[in-house]
């Protein structure tokens, strides 16, 4: 039994708890591995990691069906893994290989996997808002019951696309949940420097939609709030702006020295607010899972990550002849 943000007690099956831990630790270990091989020179371009924010992607996506939609950001690996995309294909895409999700043409920042409902990552901040609304519009018109999740960051809330899309979602009563991962920084800009409000969810009021805020480092709060918002959306009760307060361990991209951050702030989050530690502690307290089970899951995950990275490293680059495919 676990507490929601409101202190309500919720029952979560061991199956869900196992999946939650597995996916969170999978994202964490995957990202750590990517960082390492990035420094080894095996990953071209720029790499934006998700470490620290795992509870959000996992807490939200465990409430979704395969056919539900997700729009992502430039920091996309966690969303893709949590939504069920193949880790091997993600790794291969990030390395620009033919076996990748997009045959190496997109890379980390431009992935798409509609077979798993992933409309895609984007290199354009705020680029996910209108598509999330449009996907929700399609499912509403077609009556499919699919919901649409728009992951977004605190910085993107300043884009016009946020305001335009939330308003449309409101007036059309769309089944979309805007999940704001407020990690306190927009690239290097601290939140207080780019926004006058601290609590982003209050912007929901200005558009007449539901808004709520949870501790994004607490899987259970995210899971519960997302579940409620998704149920509302499926019942035709309209959109929600769900703010998850979180913290990004890595810099904006791999190689960012994080000179703009307070050292004590980074230390505080890593030592006291780590979402995986919080999860383990809570689950262990209930006696549902024990340390050995966590260790076993992690061993499997480490194997999976190694398998994915090896697969990607050993995959071929695309054939030169593919350059011109699929344009007009």
């Amino acid at each position: 039994m676990y507490a929601s943000k409101e202190g309500d007690v919720m029952e979560i099956s061991k199956d869900i708890l196992t999946k939650a831990y597995r996916n969170m630790i999978l994202i964490r270990r995957f990202e750590e591995n990517l960082q390492k091989i990035y420094y080894d020179g095996k990953i071209p371009g720029f790499l934006h990691l998700y470490t620290g924010e795992e509870a959000i992607a996992v807490g939200v996506c465990l409430n979704l069906n395969k056919t539900d939609y997700v729009t992502s950001t430039h920091r996309a690996h966690g969303h893709f893994i949590a939504k069920g995309s193949d880790v091997k294909k993600i790794a291969a895409e990030i390395m620009g290989k033919k076996s990748g999700l997009c045959r190496g043409k997109g890379g980390s920042m431009h992935m798409m996997d509609m077979d798993n409902g992933l409309y895609g990552s984007t290199g354009i901040v705020g680029g996910g808002f209108p598509p999330a609304a449009g996907l929700a519009l399609a499912s509403k018109i077609k009556g499919t019951g699919q919901v649409s999740i728009c992951f977004c960051g605190d910085g993107s809330i300043n884009e016009g696309t946020f305001h335009e899309s939330v308003n449309m979602a409101a007036i059309w009563n769309l089944p979309v949940i805007f999940v704001c991962e407020n990690n306190l920084y927009a690239q290097s800009a601290p939140q207080e420097y780019h926004q006058k409000v601290k609590d982003i969810y209050i912007r929901s009021k200005g558009y007449g939609i539901q808004g709520t805020c949870v501790d994004g480092m607490d899987f259970f709060q995210v899971y519960d709030a997302a579940r409620k918002a998704i149920e509302r959306a499926r019942e035709g009760k309209g959109p929600t702006l769900l703010e998850c307060k979180t913290y990004l361990y890595s810099g904006h991209y791999v190689g960012d020295a994080r000179a703009y951050r307070y050292p004590e702030e980074m230390k505080y989050y890593e030592e006291n607010k780590d979402c995986i530690n919080i999860f383990k502690n809570k689950v262990t307290e209930t006696g549902v899972m024990c340390e050995n089970e966590f260790i076993n899951i992690e061993s499997e995950v480490i194997y999976d990550v190694k398998e994915a990275v090896d697969f990607a490293v050993n995959s071929q680059f695309p054939d030169e002849g593919e350059l011109h495919d699929n344009v007009y």
């Binding site: 371009g45 901040v125 910085g155 884009e159 927009a186 800009a189 601290p190 207080e192 703009y260 350059l323």
Partner: protein
Amino acid sequence: MSDERIISYSEAIREAIMQEMERDENVVFLGQDISGGGHREKENMTDTWGGSFGVSRGISTRFGIERVIDCPLSEAGYIGAAVSASTAGLNVIAELMFNDFLWLAGDQLFNGAAKIKYLSGGKQSCKLTIRTVTGAGLNAGMHHSQSLYALAAHIPGIKIAIPSTPYDAKGLLVTAIRGDEPVIIFENKTLYNTKGHVPEESYEIPIGKAKIVKNGKDATIVTISRMLFIALEAADILEKKGVFVEIIDCVSLVPLDEETIIQSVSKTGHLVIVDEATPRCGAAADIAAMAADKAIDYLDGPIKLVTSAHTPVPFSPVLEKIYMPDSISVVNAVLNSLD
């Protein structure tokens, strides 16, 4: 001697901004993360980013956050604000982090800034300089690698400068800042660390004047931005084959220095245009059309275009490499034209 001073492309740009801010207190600088860190002054964290390529590092420390303004992720908003502020007594330099974001800011530039002089019968100035970043080659993917100057060139009312050297980067920026009209300067991201001779004292380079980088008699190669260096490599290869090309760096797309290009073609009889952008409705096609119209009598062979593939910029290194023109493709184009 200051004349022999060698600095980088990014240092040249930074120097131009700082000298102009020193010269004129109405010059202000807007952009995203151009200083960074939110100016947490008491913690000595005032200048922790310096722009995506470090170009603006140190400028906010020197001139303060009243004149060096970090903007939120609101491209339509701050670029639009830069446009109107430039009509209201300020002289604004605004950095758009990547030219791929022109789609977000475009309305304010193309429906706004570009129309002001025309609408006002020439009375209203718009002292606006937009700096933005083009180019593939860093595996940055399809949203951070495009070359979109032709998009802006299509819209009457905006000047466009595209420096390929540190010397031009400084001089063109100074000219843009001092001028009364909106200018977009497209900087190539792979050039920021390249070095060259740049005088310390301020100087202007006219926008609208191309530059003959190398004299030759057999064919004219017109280049845009980084393509200059591809063409210079090609020229070396061609010389070994006994072909001597003239290389013209376009420098500005609007106004286009038609005269320099036509004059060169009248001498060589052959024209090859090298552009990193995609080919359809692009700058290379535009220059080719101009030459076909005005220099047809001088041409002894087909005009050849060497451009990137007409595809999104692919991420995979193998595809990105063949996406872009290289010196061999330029050599072949010249030989085909001469054939």
